[in-house]
């Protein structure tokens, strides 16, 4: 049945150049009296690595679950490769999911887990074995075929979950915070691996995460979610450098958001502006400022040493607090350039400021 459905999908897409990828049209999801997702419109292009980024409860996972078919949309339509799948059951959609805690079947061996989708589709035994072997090789875990899930480490289980979903060659792979349970170092390794696998298989990845760094590192495009709505969609560079809302500016990394009242005094622009800490340089209060630079005087309120950088939090006489980040490229034993209470001048290039609409 599912194969028939897939054949239908393929036939449909071959006949007319239907828009590939996923599109959501004014999708709303209400749980009881809580609106989890409100009138959401979204286009995910075929073959792209798309991230849905937001704090918990922002609706990103609900959107993912609606694309997978685990939740029914209260209203609106969801299209997959041009076909309306809004009312289709999960097992009829050409979409597969990697779950947050992997959801491997504890009673099946690794090979049986990976081959599960092929087995329920009644694929021939020899072809199943061959494809499972290939999938396990792809994630470099061929030697674990006969083990049970609980005998594997978190990172290995994560890769098995990925293999189990990819073996069905879905047109879209959904990933629900798949790296959330891993420690930092393993997470970074897996990020690289995910990116490589995505490039290899060329499948659309929709990746849910609350980790802004992860979203920026991996994605072709990012949608920033807040309160069941999308605040901004764009390339990592766009959402980081040109945040369209104060929420986006604040959620993606540290940002110096300067309220219009302060901004008009310092820069003459009577709008909310944002300047990233790495673009703010500190100098002695008496030092000169170039023509294309903006500056403000303040005192060092706090210093935060992070290893590769040191953050200086500056407070101006008007009570505005700004963060400046400085690479620790001086001699390892040298003292920090400024200490608490030092009078300093925070300087940035005037055109490095972005105006938040």
């Amino acid at each position: 049945m599912a194969q028939f459905g897939r054949a239908l999908l393929e036939a449909a897409s071959a006949a007319s150049p239907a828009p590939k990828g996923v599109s959501l049209h004014s999708v709303t999801k209400v749980f009881g009296d809580v609106v989890a997702v409100a009138e959401l419109n979204l286009e995910v292009h075929a073959g792209e690595f798309f991230s849905m980024l937001g704090p918990s409860g922002s609706g990103k996972t609900t959107v993912l679950r609606m694309i997978a078919g685990f939740e029914d949309a209260t209203s609106g339509t969801i299209e997959l490769d041009g076909v309306d799948v809004t009312r289709m059951a999960p097992f009829d959609r050409n979409v597969n999911t990697v779950f947050q805690d992997y959801a491997l079947f504890p009673h099946l061996t690794i090979a049986e887990n990976v081959g599960y989708g092929l087995r329920v589709r009644r694929m021939g035994k020899s072809e199943t074995v061959e494809r499972v072997e290939r999938a396990l090789k792809q994630v470099r875990l061929a030697h674990t075929a006969d083990r049970l899930p609980h005998q594997l480490s978190g990172g290995q289980r994560q890769r098995i979950a990925l293999a189990r979903a990819l073996i069905l060659q879905p047109s879209v792979l959904l990933l629900d915070e798949p790296l959330g349970a891993l420690d930092k170092q393993l997470r970074e390794e897996m990020q690289v691996e995910l990116k490589q696998i995505q490039r290899e298989v060329g499948i659309t990845f929709i990746f849910v995460t609350h980790d802004q760094e992860e979203a920026l590192t991996l994605s072709d495009r990012v949608a920033v979610f807040n309160n069941g709505r999308i605040e901004q969609v764009g390339t990592p560079n766009e959402v980081y450098e040109f945040p369209q809302t104060s929420f986006v500016a604040g959620f993606l990394g540290i940002s110096n958001l300067i309220a219009p009242a302060h901004a008009s005094v310092i820069t003459g622009i009577d709008k909310l502006i944002s300047v990233r800490p790495e673009r703010v340089r500190l100098a002695d209060a008496a030092s000169a400022v170039a023509a294309n630079e903006t500056s403000v005087l303040g005192t060092v309120y706090e210093t935060v040493y992070t290893g590769p950088t040191t953050r200086y939090i500056i407070e101006t006489a008007a009570g505005l607090r700004l963060t400046a980040e400085r690479h620790n490229d001086h001699h390892p034993t040298a003292a920090a350039a400024f200490g608490r209470g030092d009078a300093v001048r925070a300087i940035w290039k005037t055109d490095h400021v972005s105006i938040v609409p």
Partner: protein, 312 residues
């Protein structure tokens, strides 16, 4: 203005207070505690003394006495039990077709009761855990456990009233020109299923509830329809619970004789034979009681072979 400014609050004077009425006193030295802490053997003895007295002194002792009696014999004229060592009782069990057929009938009743309990429990457990509203779930949980509060004899008599000549079954089936099973083998199976069903239904329901929700999602996501998910994911994961439940339904049915007596008509079970011989011929009753013990041991051994006991 920035989101990372660490908020420095001066230490509250009240927080650092370490002296006052709430202060925990260091425990005084307790010689018994110290002694127990030092000696693991003494701890073990303290923990096990009471249960071991019960298990060895009462339970094992009486079982061993029973087994010894099985090798004694009865004087046919005086009905006096004569201690000795003879396999005659066991030989009679195998040679007498009545004993053999009773053993097999009892085994088949116990297996059928277990099978019926499993067949009712799995759909009920899935319904309660995954479909029912919280209210209905609570109602069903009470409905399953409530009969456990009623006396065992009361329930058998209730079944007797249901299946009697002018009882519910016959009057309900009369318009259709049918009649109920009456007091028979079938009624014994139904009654025992009714009696022991909660012991299967509760572990199965609990096990369904414990299956992580995302395994259902994952199965559907990989293309399995509901029936396939039940067959390939749910049922295998319920195996330990089904085995735990079946140990109850199977062994309790094997040992029962009141159901056969009140709703079985002429149906004889091992228990009925033991009960009728216990005064006349205790050695043969003792020998016959070894049969259900052997059945249960074989069953447990078979279960152990599947590896299901390790996960219980």
């Amino acid at each position: 203005m920035t989101s990372t400014v660490p908020r420095v609050t001066p230490a509250e004077p009240g927080r650092v207070k370490t002296h006052g009425p709430g202060r925990v006193q260091p425990a005084g030295r307790n010689p018994l505690s110290t002694r127990l802490h030092r000696s693991p053997r003494l701890r073990l003895l303290g923990l096990l003394a009471l249960p071991l007295t019960w298990l060895v002194g009462v339970y094992i002792f009486s079982l061993v006495m029973l087994l010894i009696t099985a090798f004694w014999r009865t004087d046919p004229f005086t009905s006096k039990v004569i201690p000795g060592f003879t396999f005659d009782n066991f030989v009679r069990l195998v040679e007498n077709p009545a004993y053999l057929s009773t053993s097999l009938r009892t085994l088949s009743i116990a297996l059928l009761v277990t099978l019926l309990s499993v067949m009712f429990s799995i759909p009920l457990g899935i319904f309660m855990a995954k479909v029912a509203s919280p209210w209905l779930r609570a109602f069903l949980a009470v409905a399953i456990t409530l009969p456990l509060w009623a006396g065992y004899l009361v329930k058998i008599l209730a079944m007797r009233i249901t299946f009697t000549e002018n009882g519910f079954f016959n009057s309900a089936l009369e318009p259709l020109g049918l009649s109920g099973p009456g007091f028979s083998y079938t009624t014994v199976v139904l009654t025992l299923t009714y009696l022991w069903f909660p012991y299967m239904a509760l572990p199965v329901y609990t096990a369904v509830r414990q299956i992580p929700a995302n395994l259902f999602d994952a199965s559907a996501d990989l293309g399995a329809r509901s029936w396939t998910t039940i067959r390939t994911v749910v049922v295998p994961l319920l195996k330990p619970a089904v085995i735990a439940g079946s140990i109850f339904t199977f062994s309790l049915s094997l040992g029962d004789y009141l159901a056969a007596k009140f709703v079985g008509g002429s149906t004889q079970m091992i228990g009925s034979v033991i009960a009728s011989n216990i005064n006349l011929n205790p050695p043969i009753a003792a020998a016959f009681s070894v049969v259900p013990i052997v059945f249960v041991l074989v069953y447990l051994f078979a279960v152990r072979k599947t590896g299901a006991l390790e996960r219980m």
